[in-house]
């Protein structure tokens, strides 16, 4: 289970917003914007760099520094990660290196993070809404007894220096803007691909501050026995694919999902489906595209037989170009697609696959 549908009574919520009190004195020292850098197996998760881009804007608005927090086993490797953080906008990196931190585990990471917060007192703390980020964020916020807003789609600083975190609710039917008025840090998570990747500024540098983990392996109950990498490595790539083709109920039968896969393959992209397909068991849950599935930002998104519910729109509107194929000229997908064709996806998809195949092979031969 999850939160208690906080935004359910808008009327009551509006009344609450006038309850702004003065920030308690001990929180006034909290300054600077932090981004937790998800660093695993030698790689920074792209969502962390996306958050540095967003954090940079918040820090500039607040006129404070942007810091990255890198936690892991080897100081040298974390140094490399820190250099990347600087190139993506961080002024400062807090580094916690300890062999205990070799693999993500809730207990030592929560300890490292909360110790850092209590020592250096950031006003804003952002984390990626990944399985790791969500596991950590909930624990850190509860330990610090502060507010945490999940899966934000927009972050801003209001006139009172307060973080305004906007997120969809009720499956994307409504948006709400949430503040953490009287507690610090103000915490938020953002899903991968929701924010654009910032430009890398090669050679940009910053400072590293080391902090040690005050914990011993004996203190930690949970042990990592092993890590089994996904064999189907494209699982995690849907969110970062340049071309995405997805199907909805307009495909009519689960077998017709093949048509979506074939077009995606010819285009060198990845495929997914709308929420109803997941609910019907036609497609795996990690291929769901939309607010409750993956957020995508491809260069080209082809939605075949998808009506375009709000929750779907929220997950795809970052695409450069959206092509919608639907038999219903009044389907909501035509309200936010860039290009549309009123046609039956089941017959158009194979023709499109063939036409693309020919066009691309001709041009490949020519190039």
């Amino acid at each position: 289970m999850s939160d208690a549908a906080k935004p359910s009574p808008p009327a009551a919520a509006a009344g609450r917003s006038s309850m702004k009190k003065e920030l308690p004195e001990h929180f006034k020292a909290y300054r600077h914007v932090w981004v937790f850098i998800e660093y695993e197996r030698g790689n920074i998760h792209p969502v962390s760099l996306e958050l540095l881009g967003e954090g940079r804007k918040l820090a500039d608005k607040l006129d404070v520094e942007l810091a990255g927090v890198v936690i892991g086993a080897e100081a040298e490797a974390l140094h490399e990660a820190a250099l990347s953080c600087f190139e993506y906008g961080a002024d400062l990196v807090y580094r916690v290196a300890d062999p205990i931190l070799a693999h993500y585990r809730n207990e030592p990471f929560t300890k490292a993070m909360t110790d850092l917060v209590n020592t250096y007192k950031p006003e804003v703390l952002l984390l990626g809404a990944t399985t790791l980020g969500r596991d950590l964020a909930g624990s850190v916020a509860t330990t610090l007894l502060t507010g945490l807003t999940a899966d934000c789609t927009a972050l801003a600083i209001d006139d009172e220096r307060s973080l305004a975190a906007t997120r969809p609710t009720f499956g994307g039917s409504l948006m709400c803007t949430i503040h953490t008025l009287n507690f610090r840090p103000q915490m938020a998570t953002v899903r991968p691909r929701v924010m654009p990747m910032p430009e890398r500024q090669a050679g940009r540098i910053g400072r590293i501050a080391d902090h040690s983990l005050s914990m011993a392996e004996e203190d930690i109950v949970t042990k990592v026995l092993r890590f089994v990498p996904d064999r189907d490595s494209d699982k995690a790539q849907l969110a970062y694919a340049d071309i995405v083709v997805a199907g909805g109920l307009g495909l009519r039968t689960p077998e017709n999902l093949r048509l979506v896969k074939e077009l995606a393959e010819v285009l060198g992209g990845d495929y997914g489906g709308s929420r109803p397909l997941v609910q019907k068991g036609w497609i795996e849950a990690d291929r769901q595209i939309g607010q409750t599935g993956k957020t995508i930002r491809p260069k080209l998104y082809i939605a075949a037989g998808i009506s375009g519910a709000v929750q779907h729109r929220v997950g795809v509107e970052g695409a450069d170009l959206i092509l919608a194929i639907n038999t219903d000229a009044n389907a909501p997908i035509f309200d936010f697609a860039h290009l549309g064709i009123v046609a039956d996806a089941v017959s158009l998809l194979p023709a499109l696959t063939e036409a693309f195949r020919q066009r691309l092979s001709i041009n490949r031969a020519a190039s």
């Binding site: 289970m1 609450r16 909930g138 509860t142 899966d151 109803p276 046609a343």
Partner: protein, 284 residues
């Protein structure tokens, strides 16, 4: 073994509509369901109870009408149901919710024996935060195992538990020790149908109702709106794009003609995309 499963009654979000003028949720006629993710948690709890023995207590926080949800879960085979309902819980955010639930779980432990496992779904379909499970774990000081795809082994005697946890890019195989809080991943098991026996039992069973005091909440300032550090400032309907899709008009004819028209429209609108496609297609 005593297992507590936290479930939540949620509006079926697939059927929610927003009033076009007032931007408020139109709840009328929207059916309430058990949060679908919680059903995987419930099923997993029932399986381990059936295998290792013990009882399953289900817990929810919500309005009195959430009793329907509890009765449904009893029909599926849970042994006992506790409904946490009090006006002071209204408007709770995730921090206040985890406080109320963790306090009630403490009381459940005093009343029927300390829980060995607390299960939740990975998130709800209305809030979608996935924050309450970790919040409960931290407050109870239970070992936290989120996004569990499979429980490999569980030994109530030695207190050892091994699970497969969905992590970024793979599965983590974790060994931990009871008591644990587990948030269960979807699609990990198949929900049983309630037996006639448990349906009859559920019809007679009493859903225990606790207010804040009965649940052991001493400080109601930690509950509901007062206990919530986050504040909803604005609620609004997402803004549609100003401009609608450019509709590709094609004369009725062979579907291949339509396909060519679509491709021409894509390249006309985004000339750079053809070279991207060539690059990507070459890699595939």
């Amino acid at each position: 073994m005593h297992i507590v499963v936290c479930i939540k009654q949620v509006p079926d979000s697939a059927q929610i509509r927003v009033h076009p003028v007032t931007n408020t949720i139109m709840r009328q006629g929207v059916p309430s369901i058990i949060n679908p993710y919680d059903l995987f948690a419930l099923e997993e709890a029932l399986r381990w109870r059936d295998q290792a023995g013990g009882t399953v207590t289900i817990l929810t926080m919500g309005p009195p009408m959430a009793e329907d949800t509890m009765r449904k879960a009893l029909t599926l085979g849970a042994d006992r149901a506790v409904l946490l309902t009090d006006r002071c819980f209204a408007g709770s955010d995730t921090l206040a919710t985890s406080f109320a639930l963790a306090t009630a779980i403490g009381k459940i432990g005093e009343t029927w024996g300390p829980p060995d496992i607390v299960f939740t779904g990975k998130q709800t379909i209305d809030g979608d935060t996935a924050q309450v499970g970790p919040g409960i774990a931290k407050r109870l000081r239970f070992n936290q195992l989120t996004y569990v795809a499979k429980i490999d082994s569980l030994d109530p005697e030695s207190r050892a538990i091994t699970v497969e946890r969905r992590a970024e890019g793979g599965l983590q195989v974790l060994q931990s020790r009871l008591p644990v809080l587990i948030t269960m991943l979807e699609g990990t098991n198949e929900l049983r149908r309630g037996s006639l026996d448990s349906a009859l039992r559920a019809a007679r069973a009493e859903v225990v109702r606790w207010g804040a005091a009965e649940a052991g909440v001493e400080d109601t300032a930690k509950c509901g709106l007062r206990g919530s550090p986050t504040v909803v400032k604005h609620v609004f309907a997402p803004k549609p794009r100003a401009e609608k899709a450019q509709i590709i008009e094609t004369a009725a004819g062979p579907v291949r003609t339509q396909a060519d028209a679509v491709i021409a429209a894509i390249f006309a609108r985004q000339p750079g995309i053809e070279s991207d496609l060539l690059r990507l297609a070459r890699h595939s």
